[in-house]
Amino acid sequence: MLGKLDLSAIPLSQPIPLITSFVVILIAVAVLILITAKGWWPYLWHEWITSVDHKRIGVMYCLLGVVMLIRGFADAIMMRTHQALAIDAPGYLPPEHYDQVFTAHGTIMILFGAMPLVLGFMNFLVPLQLGVRDVAFPTFNSVGFWLTASGALLVNVSLFVGEFARTGWLPYPPLSETTYTPGVGVDYYLWAVQISGVGTLITGINIVTTVLKMRCPGMSFLRMPVFCWTALASCMLIVATFPILSATLAMLTLDRYLGWHYFTNTAGGNPMMFVNLVWAWGHPEVYILVLPAFGIFSEIFSTFSGKPLFGYRSMVAATLFICIVSMMVWLHHFFTMGAGPAVNTFFGISSSIIAVGTGVKIYNWIFTMYGGRVRFEVPMLWSMGFIFTFIIGGLTGVLLAIPPADFVTHNSMFLVAHFHNVIIGGVVFGIFAGLEFWFPKAFGFRLHEGWGKVAFWFAFIGFWVTFTPLYVLGLLGMTRRLQHINIEAWRPWLYISVIGVGILILGVISQVMQLVVSIRDRETLRDVTGDPWDGRSLEWATPSPPPFFNFAVMPNVEGEEAYWGIKLRAVETQQLSPEPKYEPIHMPVNSPVGFFTAFFTTVFGFAMVWYIWWLASVALVAAFVGFVVFAWRDIHEFEVPIEQVASVDRARRAAREALLEKLTRQEVLP
């Protein structure tokens, strides 16, 4: 009846997961009680859970990402402290637990932390920046989000029921085959990543279609903000490579469930094929993450320098260049497989060629500041921190791309330092820069600047104190994923790294404080104009937060930097453009199909993990029926009456009049 599931799946003998489970369940119950007591369910259901508004979905994506970043950070604290305590000592995590921790850390950080945040930004921003009212497939979008949430939930369930994979975040066979890892951990991994991967693919298709098909009048490709270009490139990579991941994981699943032999040790299986396939997705994946971050930085450098982005076309070219080349470098993750010098040469050179595109971008950001009036507000601090950190990460990346150098640094702590250097310095810094920058747009009030600066400095210093020692450790010969250590020379560096983690913890606390303080002081931090940073792209033409239909009338774009042009004209002519003729707007209706489907895919995944076949069949059918029922609906849009459109837009115009006056008074515009 319950497959492999019985009471022994609950980690009663292991205090760490047990207590964590207990605390998490307690918090979850408390939140549910609070929501019920306050009567928030209808609001949550109508405004968020069933919402197909791209901004709401974007915010939910970001919320999921932030929560998962914190979960992943907890794993990181455990790993760094454990290793420091496990020098000639057992430490506090036995191997079967430690191995789960680093696997969960990698999986969660990349797939359930960084990915949702990046997808959240794209969802929130792309339609606003393109001057349209929604993404191409709004309901599909909601399905995509909820499937990602479903995967994230499964990963976290594994903490309480059963175990997670202990194979590393890319489960290389034959280790991940049932012979060597018979438990449910790898199965949790497979179903969680498979389900969320479908969600990601959906969002990728959605954004690509939106950018290609849904720009407002006048928004030609070469007038799009660079963020939209990077979102397009990133989502094209999603569309091109997530199917590889799905297929690869499906093959491993068949090996594990039906005893097939794609990647097994024996019977003709080829584990090297898995390694190739998974990196054919895995390397593009890191650019899926970092390209939108580049887009965020581009917007910030230009806004906070008060100048257009330098070399816009060059930026676009570099983005597309990286997008294409990033699919031709995957073998650099296993130069040490012994493929031969010709193959290694090809992939070594193709990998370092990517650095050309990245280098061009860095110079263009620098020249964007040149001749500007640079304001060092919080988003700009993150961006400067990024320039410094990412350049070093790129340097060590190119070192690893030189096969004979990689032969002594592969899988070492040097590698670990490299990818944190680019992922934290690039993606995570980008995410925090973006959160500071667009928070007022999403919620209508700014974040507290003082706490933001404190958080940045803790994160920046903490990052370097944590990861510089890892470079040294790598050069001293320390490999990654060691559960215990018996080399005395490594001790001091491991200790320094723990100090760095301590500083990072202060950074996380400051970030939380910033949010708390900002919510408390939201009235004084209120953004009444809708344009708190003197922005340049169309999202700043809307009120903060934007109405659900974004634009009362479609903007008409007449050049690059659409909103900046509108602002200039208003200041020159000393008036806003004349009031437009309002028309009713058609917007898509809410739909529970995403939530419904994801509920059943979660049940399906869980049932598959535990071999509860009847439940899996029921859940799969239910998820499918949900879709079919949805496809049968007759009404999919509703009309926003003229009066509502007009009143919302008149309020916006009033705020803009005030802004115009202020801009004229300050003479901020040249």
Binding site: G91, D99, G306, S352, V356, Y363, V472, L476, H484, A489
Partner: protein, 310 residues
Amino acid sequence: MGRLQIPKGSLCRALRGALPCGLSSVGLASCSGGVLDPLGPVGAENATILIDSAVIMLAIVVPTILLAFWVAWRYRASNPRGEYLPYWSYSGRVEAVVWSIPTLTVMFLGGLIWIGSYELDPFRPLPSKVRPLEVQVVSLDWKWLFIYPQQGIATINQLVVPAATPVHFSITSASVFNAFFVPRLGSMIYAMPGMVSQLHLQADDPGQLLGISAQFSGDGFSDMQFQVKSVPAADFGAWVASVRGTGPVLDRAAYAELLQQAQRVPPSTYGGIDPQLFLAVANQQIAPGPGPQPGGPHHAGREVSTSGKD
């Protein structure tokens, strides 16, 4: 033995000397153990390439970082001396420079990658007058087996090699992936089931080195360490003589025991071998290790390691 004739300036040499000692003396440790402190020709080339390319890139990267901070500071909003150029967003000349700096750097590094990949191809024999020692390596759960076919002996978790003699390793795995790595000797390579990787290394001087697996292979991975002893050629003969004929023989039955998972396996030796063993392992005539075996308390879906917990 400078097999690689690309820049090996005195700066790099000095750096190589200074870096590991500088770094580890900060760490209160002796100057040993790292990949920047090589004991053989391969490791020396690895380290040279690593440091040379780092220096080449730093020559571009440091000025770029300084430029970034100088520009940001110079054009800060509060500085009236920085001229405001609100429309300056394109310059063909700057663009040309911006594309060519990274391109030239990468072309230069591309050459280094090309030459280096061929020179340091792990499958390539080392040029030496001394006849290489053959060692067959099998990674098991979780121990290393070293077979000396010429000497007819074998060891577990212990690799003894004559100094100043090239060693030719043939490497396979009898369970999951591992990577054979002796940081101070240089280049690592994967040990893979059903396949044989080749690696050529040499220790120039006698010494005690650390060998590890550099590819995660399961619960016992952290203890997949082996001692590497580089001994004077004469001592090597004596060591072989002392091992040969003493202790157990590595036949199929003894090997079957090795296939069982075990953690923290102490070094040991075999006084005799089955000469066909390595081939039979590599082409999987002998089935690979069976993985975790039932036993110990039952947990639903939760694996239990076969040996004791920490």
